[in-house]
C-alpha cells in the first residue's frame, strides 16, 4: 500500500529524494514554444505546469478523473478540464459570466469561487449554497463580477481540492490594469499526496503526529544539555511534556506524504517562467494547497507586494512572505540576472516547492537549503504571557519572577511582543468613549471549550499583527506581516462595529479533533448576521497551529488591536495564541460557509454556517 519508506538496509536516500523532489522532467524545455513552460508534462492524460487560459463570458469546465504521476507512483487525480492546476480563468470586471460545470466523476462535485462576491446560490458549497453537482450532471453558475484582482477556484466537495481541483481566477479591470508589468505569471502552490486523503485522515485520527519526523528526541536532549546545560535542556521541555503538547507540531502533514507543487510541477520538474532583462514581472502567488503554509522568497530579488487576496495594497517591499491555503499575494519583481529560484518552503521545513525565473528555458540556479526547524515558543503557546519577560509593567512584577524559568529558554526569539495585550492597558481609559471602537480584550471562552474537544485555552492572547510567525522571526530577511498590509482606499464600509462576535479556534491535537468554540460543525448552530449590519468578528486562537480562516460571501476587513483598519481579506491567518479582529458588512443575503482552509481541519469540523437575513 505504501512504498514510501524503504525497508531497513536499502538506500533510503535515493527513494526518499525522489519522493520529496518528485519526478524530473526530461530536460526538453528548449524546443518548446511559448513563454510559459510545462517543465514536467510527463503524465499522460493530465496536463501539468502551464494551465490553459480561458477567457470570455461563457466557459465550460469538465470535472473528471485523470491519471497523474508526481512521485513515480501512478495515481488518479480529480481534475478540471484535465489539467493541474485547472485552467486559469481570465474574466472581466462588470461581465456577467456563465460557467457550466459538468461532472464526469462517480461522486458529486462542486466548484467554489474563492473570494468572489456573488449570490449565495452560486457560491458552490454543497449542502449550504446548493445540492452539489451529481455525477453526469451539469450545473450552470452565473454571476456578475463586481471586483478585480487575483482569486482562485476549487472544489468544495470532500477532499477533491487536495486531489487536483484548483485553478486561478483573475478578474481584469475594465479600465485596464493599473499596474504596469511586462510579464504576468500565476504561481499557484499546492501539495499532493499519493495516499487517499481519507486514509491520511484515518491515520491522523489514530496517531496525530504520524507525519511529523521532527519530533524532539533523546538525542536532541543530550545535545541541548551539552550546549546549554542540563537545567536549561530540562526547562525547555518541561512545559511541553507536562501539557502533552509537541513543540514541533507545525503541520499535520509533511514531506513524509506530501509532494510540494508549483503550478502543478514538482521541485525536480522545476516550473520556469521566462523574462527578458530589464522587464518587470508580476507574479500572482496563490496558495491552493490542502494543508501547507508556504514561506516564499526569491533569493537575490526583492518582492514588492501590491495585492493581497485580490485587493490592492500600498506597495511594500519584502524578501519573503508566508501564506496559508486560500490566501493570495501579487508581487512585482525586477530581475537583473539570468536566473532566480522561486523558493517556497513548507512551514514545517519538511520540503519545498520550487521553480525558476530565467531568461531562457533550462537555466537554473542553486536552491537554498531548508531553514532549520524551530520549536514553537511560549508566545505561540500562551500568547502575551509568553513574551512578557522583557516587559516593564509593575503589575506583573510579582508574577514574572515565577514565570522566568519557564519563559527564559524560549524568549530569545520573540520580536514585537511588547505590542501585545499588556501594552494596551494605558490607552484603554482614553479610548473608552465607545467600547466598540476597538475589539474587546476580555477573553470569553465558550462553555464548550472545557471538555474533551479542546486541549488548551489561551487566557492572554497576543494581539499584535507584526509577528511573521514561527520559523520566520529574526531570520535576517525582511518578512511580510499582516501589519505591513494597508488596503488602498481604506475600508469598504466606513461604519464602525455595531456589535461583536467572538469565536474561538479550538482543537485537540491528540484526538485530532478541530472545532470552533469547542464544537464541531455537526453540533454547531449557524452564526446569524442581520442583513446590512456592520459587525466585528474576533477570532481567538486557542490552539498552537495557524489557521487560515475563510469567510465566504463577504469581505473580512482586518483591523489592528487599536481598531485601525488594516486590510481587506477573504482569508485571515490566525497565529497560535493570537486574537485578531475584523469587520464584516453583512450585505450578502443567504447561507454561507466559514471555515479553516486547512482541508483536514475543515473536514474535522472547524467549520461554521453563516446566515445573513
Amino acid at each position: 500500500m505504501q512504498a514510501r519508506f524503504s525497508p531497513i538496509g536499502t538506500p533510503v536516500t535515493l527513494n526518499r529524494r525522489r519522493f520529496v523532489q518528485g519526478l524530473a522532467a526530461g530536460g526538453v524545455l528548449a524546443g518548446l514554444p511559448g513563454l510559459l513552460h510545462a517543465a514536467a508534462d510527463r503524465a499522460p492524460g493530465t496536463v501539468t505546469g502551464a494551465a490553459p487560459v480561458l477567457r470570455g463570458t461563457e466557459i465550460d469546465l469538465v470535472v473528471a478523473e485523470s491519471p497523474v504521476n508526481f512521485t513515480g507512483n501512478p495515481r488518479m487525480a480529480t481534475t478540471i478540464n484535465g489539467s493541474i492546476p485547472a485552467p486559469t480563468l481570465r474574466l472581466r470586471e462588470g461581465d456577467t459570466v456563465t460557467i457550466r460545470v459538468t461532472n464526469r466523476l462517480r461522486e458529486a462535485t462542486s466548484i467554489h469561487w474563492h473570494g468572489i462576491i456573488l449570490p449565495y446560490q452560486m457560491d458552490g458549497v454543497p449542502g449550504i449554497s446548493f445540492a452539489g453537482i451529481a455525477p453526469g450532471e451539469t450545473f450552470t453558475y452565473r454571476f456578475k463580477l463586481e471586483q478585480t484582482g487575483t482569486y482562485w477556484y476549487h472544489s468544495h466537495s470532500g477532499m477533491q481540492e487536495l486531489t487536483g481541483m484548483y485553478g486561478a481566477l483573475i478578474v481584469e479591470s475594465r479600465e485596464g490594469e493599473p499596474v504596469r508589468a511586462d510579464r504576468d505569471y500565476v504561481v499557484q502552490l499546492s501539495d499532493w499526496t499519493d495516499e487517499a486523503p481519507m486514509q491520511v485522515f484515518a491515520k491522523l485520527k489514530t496517531q496525530s503526529d504520524y507525519y511529523n519526523y521532527n519530533q524532539p528526541t533523546v538525542a536532541d536532549f543530550f545535545r541541548d544539555a551539552s550546549t546549554d546545560g542540563l537545567k536549561s535542556a530540562i526547562d525547555k521541555r518541561k512545559m511541553w511534556n507536562e501539557m502533552r503538547m509537541s513543540p514541533t507540531d507545525l503541520a499535520d502533514l509533511s514531506g513524509a506524504t506530501l509532494t510540494f507543487l508549483m503550478n502543478g510541477t514538482t521541485p525536480a520538474g522545476n516550473w520556469t517562467g521566462l523574462f527578458r532583462r530589464g522587464e518587470r514581472v508580476r507574479l500572482r502567488f496563490i496558495n491552493g494547497a490542502g494543508n501547507s503554509f508556504y514561506d516564499v522568497r526569491i533569493p537575490g530579488l526583492k518582492m514588492t507586494v501590491i495585492q493581497s487576496d485580490g485587493v490592492d495594497v500600498e506597495p511594500v517591499t519584502v524578501d519573503e512572505f508566508r501564506f496559508g491555503p486560500g490566501e493570495t499575494y501579487d508581487v512585482l519583481v525586477e530581475p537583473k540576472d539570468d536566473a532566480y529560484t522561486l523558493f517556497a518552503q513548507a512551514m514545517d521545513r519538511s520540503g519545498y516547492a520550487r521553480g525558476t525565473l530565467a531568461v531562457q528555458p533550462g537555466l537554473t540556479v542553486s536552491v537554498p537549503a531548508l531553514d532549520k526547524v524551530e520549536w514553537l515558543t511560549m508566545a505561540d503557546m500562551m500568547g502575551a504571557m509568553g513574551g512578557m519577560a522583557g516587559m516593564d509593567h509593575s503589575a506583573m512584577a510579582g508574577g514574572m519572577k515565577d514565570m522566568n524559568h519557564a519563559a527564559m529558554p524560549m524568549q530569545h526569539n520573540m520580536p514585537g511582543m511588547n505590542h501585545g495585550a499588556m501594552a494596551m492597558d494605558h490607552s484603554q481609559h482614553a479610548m473608552a468613549e465607545n467600547p466598540l471602537d476597538k475589539a474587546s480584550q476580555t477573553v470569553r471562552h465558550a462553555r464548550t471549550e472545557y471538555g474533551p474537544s479542546t486541549d488548551m485555552r489561551v487566557d492572554m492572547p497576543r494581539t499584535n499583527l507584526d509577528d511573521p510567525g514561527i520559523g520566520l522571526r529574526n531570520n535576517g530577511r525582511r518578512v511580510l506581516t499582516l501589519a505591513d498590509l494597508s488596503t488602498v482606499g481604506g475600508p469598504i464600509d466606513p461604519r464602525g462595529a455595531e456589535r461583536e462576535i467572538e469565536l474561538h479556534l479550538t482543537g485537540n491535537m491528540e484526538r485530532y479533533a478541530w472545532s470552533l468554540d469547542g464544537l464541531e460543525f455537526g453540533q454547531s448552530t449557524p452564526v446569524h448576521l442581520r442583513y446590512g449590519e456592520r459587525v466585528r468578528v474576533i477570532l481567538h486562537n486557542d490552539t498552537m497551529m495557524t489557521h487560515p480562516m475563510h469567510l465566504h460571501g463577504m469581505w473580512s476587513e482586518l483591523e489592528t488591536a487599536d481598531g485601525a483598519f488594516q486590510a481587506r481579506r477573504h482569508t485571515i491567518p490566525v497565529q497560535p495564541a493570537q486574537r485578531i479582529s475584523f469587520l464584516v458588512t453583512a450585505d450578502a443575503l443567504g447561507r454561507w460557509a466559514w471555515h479553516c482552509h486547512l482541508m483536514f481541519h475543515m473536514d474535522a469540523g472547524m467549520f461554521r454556517q453563516v446566515v445573513v437575513s
Binding site: A395, Y450, G522, S613
Partner: protein, 314 residues
C-alpha cells in the same frame, strides 16, 4: 485484601483521572492576577476558571496558566448565542430536506493496533504473547476491544478479552465501560469492567480498569507505557503493569491482593509509523499468595523474559 478495599483502591486510581486532567492547569495564580489586572471589569471570568480542585500531583511547580482541563465558569460564553434561533437545516435560506453537509466529525473511523506480538523466552520456556486494541467510532464515543494473552506449547495459556464502550470525559481521557472475559488453562471468568484510558502529563499512557466478577470476585489492572524517541524512528518503550485481585482464585493461580507486577523495556525501529519490529526484556514478579501458589506448583516467582516481536497497526 477484600473486595471492598479493592474497589476503594480502584476508585482511588480511577479518581485520579480527572485530577490528572486538570493537573496541568491547577496553578499559576499569578497569571490570572495578571489577566485580572489587564481586564477593565473586575469580575474576570478567568478568575473563576482559575480555581480548579487542589493540586493532586505536586509536580507542577512553575508558572504555566490554567490552559487545560477545568470546568466552565458559570458565566462562560454560550456557543449558540449568535445563532438567532437558526439551525443548520431550518430557517430562511436552508436547503430543503434533511441536512446534507456532514463532515468527518460525524463519520466513524477505526483502527487495530497490535502493540505486542512477540516471542517470549525465559530460562524455562518459550511462548508467544499478544496484546492488541481495536477501536471503531467517532472522536468522543467509540467501541473498544482489547485482547491480551499468550500461547505456549500450542495451547492458549491465558487470554483476556474486553469489549468496552469508550466515552471521552476530558481532553486526554476516555472512560470505558463493558465486559471482560478470561479464558485459558484455568476456569473461564467473566467480569464487568470499568476503567479509564488516556494520556497523563508528561506523555504517560495509562490504562486502569477495575473489574467485578461473579462469586464476589474483583480485580484491578493498571498499565502504563511511555514512548521515548531516541531518533525519529528508534523508540524505547518502557512499560509497566500491575494486577490486584480481591479474592483468591486458586484454580487460576491467583491469590488475593497484589498478584504480580511486570516491567519491560522494548526498543523498536519504526520502518513506518505502522510497522515496527522490536526487541526487549521484561521482568515479572509474583507476590503474596500468588507467589505461594506458584511455588507450590514448582514454578518460579520471578522471571526475566527476553522478547522479540512486532508492533503494527492499520
Amino acid at each position: 485484601m477484600n473486595t471492598l478495599s479493592i474497589l476503594a483502591a480502584s476508585v482511588l486510581v480511577l479518581g485520579a483521572a480527572p485530577s490528572l486532567a486538570t493537573a496541568a492547569g491547577a496553578h499559576g495564580q499569578h497569571a490570572m492576577d495578571a489577566a485580572g489586572a489587564q481586564s477593565e471589569s473586575g469580575a474576570s471570568p478567568m478568575k473563576q476558571a482559575a480555581a480548579p480542585a487542589a493540586m493532586p500531583m505536586g509536580a507542577m511547580d512553575h508558572g504555566d496558566m490554567n490552559m487545560q482541563g477545568g470546568s466552565a465558569p458559570a458565566d462562560a460564553r454560550d456557543p449558540h448565542a449568535y445563532s438567532g434561533g437558526y439551525t443548520l437545516d431550518s430557517g430562511k435560506y436552508a436547503l430543503a430536506g434533511p441536512r446534507q453537509l456532514r463532515l468527518a466529525d460525524e463519520h466513524s473511523f477505526g483502527t487495530l493496533l497490535v502493540d505486542r506480538l512477540e516471542r517470549v523466552d525465559t530460562r524455562d520456556a518459550t511462548s508467544t504473547a499478544f496484546d492488541a486494541q481495536a477501536w471503531f467510532g467517532r472522536d468522543y464515543d467509540r467501541l473498544v476491544v482489547k485482547a491480551e494473552g499468550d500461547y505456549a506449547n500450542g495451547r492458549l495459556e491465558e487470554a483476556r478479552t474486553e469489549l468496552l464502550w469508550g466515552h471521552a470525559i476530558a481532553s486526554y481521557w476516555d472512560a470505558q465501560l463493558g465486559l471482560r472475559y478470561d479464558t485459558g488453562e484455568g476456569p473461564d471468568r467473566s467480569w464487568l469492567a470499568f476503567g479509564i484510558q488516556g494520556l497523563a502529563p508528561y506523555w504517560f499512557e495509562l490504562d486502569a480498569t477495575a473489574y467485578v466478577g461473579n462469586e464476589g470476585r474483583s480485580a484491578l489492572r493498571v498499565e502504563a507505557e511511555y514512548e521515548l524517541p531516541i531518533t525519529q524512528r528508534l523508540v524505547l518503550q518502557p512499560r509497566g503493569e500491575i494486577n490486584v485481585y480481591g479474592k483468591k482464585d486458586e484454580a487460576n493461580g491467583m491469590g488475593s491482593g497484589l498478584t504480580d507486577a511486570t516491567f519491560g523495556l522494548r526498543l523498536r525501529y519504526e520502518v513506518s509509523r505502522q510497522f515496527a519490529p522490536y526487541i526487549g526484556v521484561e521482568w515479572n514478579n509474583k507476590f503474596g499468595q500468588t507467589a505461594d501458589l506458584a511455588r507450590a506448583e514448582g514454578a518460579s516467582t520471578r522471571e526475566t523474559r527476553w522478547v522479540a516481536g512486532l508492533r503494527f497497526w492499520f
